[in-house]
Each structure stands twice: as structure tokens, then as C-alpha cells.
């Protein structure tokens, strides 16, 4: 059985079709990379999976852990074990990162955790992401550098421990050192049986997060599927 199965997905925004019959299956523990040129629909796919209200699914189905994903609200999808690391994480003024993380953690787990237990857990995960304690006290993503924002996303992945994490262009805007920290965070913090959907424009992130499958998304559909070597081939020859 698949962890997630996308069948013949068609989706549009403001009446403009973006995805035109996309199929994808991911099993437990697998890492899939989705590559493709700008405007191919990579981020659209990520947003539709997370439940962004601006996109309309016109045809197709998505099954996640046996449930009809498209019938669920974004928060229900998250509670079911789906996580998306944003390409552009949002800033929330006046809300400390710690408060935000604890609120989200409590909402997702639907259980209470003591302040002390949460602080212990948070400190442990932040250390792995090489984040200083002060990131807990600062407002959510406010004044964070691009790299800090991405680290904060992976920190959330670590805390929420999802079954499927979608990394939407997590490498964009990162220098090589920041990317290594993020990638090693992903590798170390992921459960062996959890799955990853890595959306990226460039091959370089895949040197650090090794995919089992590489898919080429172009014109709203998966045009080719291969193993990790496909990414290298694309890097050399381009998408054309």
C-alpha cells in the first residue's frame, strides 16, 4: 500500500490549468525528488497537497494513509501526518517562535505537554539544527535570514515528526553551508519509515538528501521517472 497516491491530478488557479493529469505514488520510507523547470507546477503540487485554498482541483484523487486528502482542511492534513516546509516561510509579528511551536505541537498531537517537557524537546531539536536558544524567543521568522527561516522549517519537521514531509525548494536562497546544515538536519531528524517529497530546481540538494526516485515534472505532468542518476543527467543536459 502507498503512503500517498496521486491519481490523474488536474488543478488550476484563477481558471488557469497548472497540473494536467499528474500521477505519483510514494511508499513508506521512500525519498522522492520532483525536479523541473520554473513554472512546471512543482510548487503548485506542494501547495495542493498541503491544502492551499487558492488552487482548485478540477479532476483526480489524492489518497493519504487511506484517506481522501482533498476532503480535508489543511490543519486536518497536518494532524494526519503531512508536513510542508515552505519555500517562503511566513512571518508572524509579536508571537514568539517557542509559543508558535508549542501551540502547533499541541494542536497536531492533540495532547498537552508540560512547559518543561516541551522546552527539553525543543532544546534537543534546536541543537541538531544548530539554532541558538534565542530563536525560541524571537517572533516567528521575523528578521530571520533566509537560511534561518529554512532551518526553522526543518526544526518544525523534527518536532512534528510527520509521515510525509514535502520540502518545497528548501535549498533556494541558501549558501552551501546553510544547505548542508538543513540537509543533514533532514537526514538525521527523519524517521526511517517516514517519507520525503523533495521539490527542487537544482540537483545540488540531492547530493545530500539521496532520493530513491527522481521525477521530472514538466507542463503539469510527470514526464520521466528514474533513480538518483537522472538528477545528474538533468544537471548536465538540462530539462529540454
Amino acid at each position: 500500500m502507498y503512503l500517498i497516491e496521486i491519481k490523474n491530478l488536474h488543478a488550476s488557479i484563477d481558471g488557469k490549468p497548472i497540473l494536467k493529469g499528474l500521477n505519483l505514488q510514494v511508499r513508506k520510507g521512500e525519498i522522492h525528488a520532483i525536479m523541473g523547470p520554473n513554472g512546471a507546477g512543482k510548487s503548485t503540487l506542494a501547495k495542493i497537497l498541503a491544502g492551499h485554498p487558492a488552487y482548485t482541483v478540477t479532476e483526480g484523487e489524492i489518497w493519504f494513509k487511506g484517506q481522501d486528502l482533498l476532503s480535508l482542511q489543511p490543519e486536518e492534513r497536518a494532524a494526519l501526518g503531512l508536513f510542508m516546509s515552505f519555500q517562503y516561510p511566513l512571518e508572524i509579528a509579536g508571537v514568539t517562535n517557542r509559543h508558535f511551536l508549542k501551540t502547533a505541537f499541541t494542536a497536531l498531537r492533540k495532547t498537552k505537554i508540560s512547559e518543561a517537557d516541551f522546552d527539553t524537546l525543543l532544546a534537543e531539536k534546536m541543537a541538531l539544527m544548530e539554532m541558538r536558544a534565542e530563536f525560541g524567543d524571537r517572533s516567528v521568522n521575523e528578521g530571520f535570514s533566509g537560511g534561518e527561516k529554512k532551518r526553522n522549517e526543518i526544526l518544525q519537521m523534527a518536532l512534528f515528526d510527520p509521515d510525509l514531509a514535502i520540502l518545497d525548494e528548501t535549498d533556494s536562497g541558501l549558501d552551501i553551508d546553510a544547505m548542508k546544515v538543513v540537509a543533514s538536519g533532514v537526514n538525521r531528524l527523519r524517521r526511517p519509515d517516514s517519507s520525503l517529497l523533495v521539490i527542487t530546481h537544482y540537483q545540488r540538494l540531492l547530493d545530500y538528501i539521496r532520493p530513491d526516485f527522481v521525477h521530472v515534472l514538466f507542463d503539469g505532468r510527470i514526464q520521466r521517472t528514474g533513480d538518483a542518476t537522472l538528477a545528474l543527467e538533468l544537471e548536465a543536459k538540462g530539462y529540454a
Binding site: 491544502g51 497536518a78 515552505f86
Partner: protein
């Protein structure tokens, strides 16, 4: 008032009050005399009212606010009625379910819901005896808390000495009108060195009375005393009177501190047309008369068709402190023009202004402020922060800060920002497990954090919920 505006119906289960004794509509010198006679007032107070009335007659209804209201027909208002009583209900089942839903969302305790809707309370929670206990505690401490009518009878010397000293009768059109015809209000007196044994909000929570159309409040804090006073309620408030022109005067003597908090949720009118909402035109001013005295205003203005008020501080005593913390939320067709005036007169005086404006739908939200430092107020300091949040793109936010500094030893800081509450932020939080309502609440509470922190604890949570509730339907 125009005919269409007087038709404020009590559609949420509040029933038209029974008017036992109401003056005919209209305002003349005779009306003013009759009010004073009815209340058996001493001669000085009649004189006060008459002077105010004569001033008012010379004045012109102001319209300089950044909002529009139709000219009010002052001859079409009745200026006196016996205190009204709402009909008693047997149980909450008789209350409009929509209103009960709102109470639930605000987290208002069940017993209080009953009190607010005038449902007979059971013996477990006897509000009368609880109120009596509070009153006794205050009396023992020497704190006077009573209606202004009662104070006129019991403490005429204090009323004569202080009434109209902070807001003079001719201060502005609506203050003059209030001074001429004020119905009732609250009087608080804290003697020298006394710290009020309780937040007066706690008291009002049990004993809230119907607020009048022309309410008058006077708070006197003698040297070294402290009091925290809260007016209003998060629950939606309705009234058949559209114009509310209150006057609040605060006096803080040497080393005294007054903390005055307001939560305002008047009916804002039809969200589509704006018809029927309350005009909340209030003059609030505090005088820090003594050395190191402090007055702190905190307001959460979330209702009324038009809110027009500038709770202000005159910092006369050396090293006195004035504070203004405000959240003004407008949605539907609401209009708010609010802010503060900090007048630095004494040496080393300090003031802080934190204003948070949230506008949604087709509303208009304006911050207007004045920081004035007179030449002799050496070493005065002010910090002002004005933040606006826009929800949607049909609303507007304006900021009119004015600064007048008369010396070179003063320091003034001003920070301002405008942000948008957008769908992407809400989506981000939803993908982190929060419902849409929780997401809005988190964002709005973050925005208003510094102001909410100033509210008495029991109201802080309710106020946060109120703000989120108001925006629920405004975010796409």
C-alpha cells in the same frame, strides 16, 4: 437624530426597556433646570449645568474627524429617564441563541451570561451578596465607589472642588453637552496612601449597571494611592440611544496611580449598511497633578459605528507618567478616529503611547495623537508606537501624529508600521495544525500583545477572543 438611526432594534433578545418616567424630547434651559431639580441637586451643580448649556448653545457640532456622521437633531432626544430595568427572564433558554453562541466563544462564565441577559440567578451564585461583600471591603479601606448622583448628595464638597477641573465645561461640543445634561455615572475616591483592595473591575463584573447616554465619571486618587478601574465588557452591548457622549475625569495626586481600562463592544450597526450603530463620542482626560503621579489608559475598542475619543494625560506634576495603550478594531462599515494627547508640563515627565489599529472589510481606522512638551518641561520623554494592520483591501488606516516640542532637553521617539493580515499567514498556521480561527487569534494577539498585557488579567483572555471573533468573517 434622524429617523432611520433611531430605529435601533433589540434584535438579540434584549427587550425594549420600560420607560417609567421620561422627559419629553427637546433641550432648553428649562430641560437642564428640570434635570437638576429631578435629581435634587445643590445650587452649584445647577449653575455648572446652566453654564455648560449656555456654552454649548454657542458651539457648533464638530465634524473634523476622519469619518462621517449625519448632523444630530438634539431636539429629538429625551434627556432624562428614570433608571430602566430590563424584564427578567426565567432561564437562558429564553435568550437569543446567537447571543449565547457569542458568549460561549468569548468564554463568559455561565452565571455572568445570566446576569448580562437579566436571567434570574440561582442561589449558588448570589450576585447581590457577593456585591455587598465587595462593597464592605472597599468601605473598610476607605475607598468610595458610588454613582455620581449619590456622590453629589454625600460628598458635595468633593464634587464641587473637582468636577469640570480636568475637562472644563466648554472644552468641546460634546463635553459641554454632557456637562449640561449628564444623567449618571461613577464616582471613585481613594484616600491618601490607600491601595484599593481590589481591581474595581471585579466589582463591576458583579454589579454592572446600564450605562447612560451622557455618562459622567470622576476618579480622584489622593497622594500615594492606587486604583485600577475597568469599564465595559466584551459581551455585545445594545442601546436604543444612538449618541453616547460621556466625560471621564481622572485626578492623580502626588505618587498616586490610576489605571483605567476600557473594553468597548457597542453595537456597530448593520455590517453592510452601518445603520443603527452607536456613536461613541467620549472625552476622557486625566490630570497628573502631583509629583511622580501616574495615569495609564488602556482601551480595547471593538464596537460602535463611530468611535471618536482621545483619552489624554496632562502631566503637570514633575516626573509624572502618562500611558496610553490602545487596540482599535474596525470591521463592517465601522469608523474609528482615536488616539491620545500627552501634554508634558512638569519637569522630567514621561509618556508612552502604544496604538494598534486593525481595520477590516470597508472600515476606516485612524490614529490621531498629540505629544506636546511645553518649554518648561525640561527633560521630558515620549515613546510612541503606532501599528496598523489591514485585513483585506477595502479598508483604510490613517495615522496623524502631531508633535510640539518647546525645549531642547526632551527626547521623543516615534515608530510606526503597517502590515497586512493575509491568507498566506493563515494558511501557514493551518498547515501547522491550527484551525482558521486559532490562526487568526494567534496573529491578532501577536499584533496586540503589548496592549492586551496591560488589561486586568480576567479580561485579557476575553479581549483576545473578542478581537479574533470580530475578524472571523472578515478574513477570506
Amino acid at each position: 437624530m434622524t429617523a432611520e438611526f433611531t430605529a435601533t432594534d433589540y434584535k438579540y433578545g434584549f427587550v425594549t426597556p420600560i420607560d417609567s418616567d421620561v422627559f419629553p424630547k427637546g433641550l432648553t434651559e428649562e430641560t437642564v433646570r428640570a434635570i437638576s431639580a429631578k435629581k435634587e441637586e445643590p445650587a452649584f451643580l445647577l449653575e455648572f449645568r446652566l453654564k455648560a448649556f449656555r456654552k454649548w448653545k454657542e458651539m457648533v457640532e464638530p465634524h473634523w474627524l476622519n469619518a462621517h456622521y449625519p448632523a444630530i437633531d438634539y431636539q429629538n432626544i429625551s434627556y432624562y429617564s428614570e433608571p430602566k430595568s430590563k424584564p427578567r427572564l426565567e432561564s437562558l433558554d429564553e435568550v437569543d441563541p446567537e447571543l449565547l453562541k457569542t458568549f460561549e466563544k468569548l468564554g463568559i462564565p455561565l452565571d455572568e451570561q445570566k446576569r448580562l441577559t437579566n436571567v434570574a440567578v440561582d442561589v449558588v451564585f448570589d450576585s447581590v451578596s457577593l456585591g455587598t461583600t465587595f462593597r464592605k471591603k472597599l468601605e473598610e479601606a476607605g475607598v468610595v465607589l458610588c454613582s455620581i448622583s449619590e456622590a453629589v448628595k454625600k460628598y458635595p464638597d468633593l464634587i464641587e472642588k473637582y468636577l469640570g477641573t480636568v475637562v472644563p465645561i466648554g472644552d468641546n461640543f460634546f463635553a459641554a453637552l454632557n456637562s449640561a445634561v449628564f444623567s449618571d455615572g461613577s464616582f471613585v475616591y481613594i484616600p491618601k496612601g490607600v491601595r484599593s483592595p481590589m481591581e474595581l473591575s471585579t466589582y463591576f463584573r458583579i454589579n454592572e449597571k446600564e450605562t447612560g447616554q451622557f455618562e459622567r465619571t470622576l476618579i480622584i486618587a489622593e497622594a500615594g494611592s492606587y486604583v485600577s478601574y475597568l469599564e465595559g465588557c466584551t459581551a455585545p452591548a445594545f442601546d436604543t440611544n444612538q449618541l453616547h457622549a460621556a466625560v471621564v475625569e481622572l485626578i492623580a495626586e502626588e505618587c498616586a496611580e490610576i489605571k483605567y481600562s476600557t473594553v468597548q463592544n457597542w453595537y456597530a450597526g448593520d455590517p453592510k449598511t452601518g445603520k443603527g450603530g452607536i456613536f461613541n463620542f467620549v472625552t476622557k482626560r486625566g490630570l497628573c497633578s502631583g509629583y511622580k503621579s501616574k495615569i495609564s489608559w488602556t482601551q480595547v475598542e471593538a464596537g460602535a459605528a463611530i468611535t471618536w475619543k482621545y483619552p489624554s494625560c496632562i502631566l503637570r506634576g514633575d516626573e509624572s507618567v502618562g500611558e496610553f495603550y490602545s487596540v482599535a478594531l474596525t470591521n463592517g462599515k465601522m469608523q474609528a478616529d482615536t488616539g491620545t494627547k500627552m501634554i508634558h508640563v512638569g519637569k522630567g515627565t514621561r509618556s508612552v503611547i502604544v496604538s494598534k489599529g486593525i481595520s477590516a472589510d470597508e472600515s476606516h481606522n485612524t490614529y490621531r495623537g498629540l505629544v506636546k512638551v511645553v518649554p518648561k518641561a525640561a527633560g521630558a520623554r515620549n515613546y510612541t508606537q503606532c501599528d496598523s494592520m489591514l485585513v483585506g483591501n477595502r479598508c483604510s488606516a490613517n495615522t496623524f501624529p502631531k508633535i510640539e516640542v518647546g525645549n531642547s532637553s526632551s527626547q521623543l521617539e516615534h515608530e510606526a508600521s503597517t502590515s497586512k493580515l493575509n491568507e498566506e499567514q493563515i494558511f501557514y498556521l493551518q498547515t501547522r495544525g491550527l484551525s482558521k480561527e486559532e490562526a487568526i487569534q494567534l496573529i491578532v494577539n501577536g499584533f496586540c500583545k503589548e496592549v492586551i498585557a496591560e488589561l486586568p488579567l480576567e479580561f485579557a483572555v476575553e479581549a483576545q477572543k473578542l478581537l479574533a471573533l470580530k475578524l472571523e468573517h472578515s478574513v477570506g
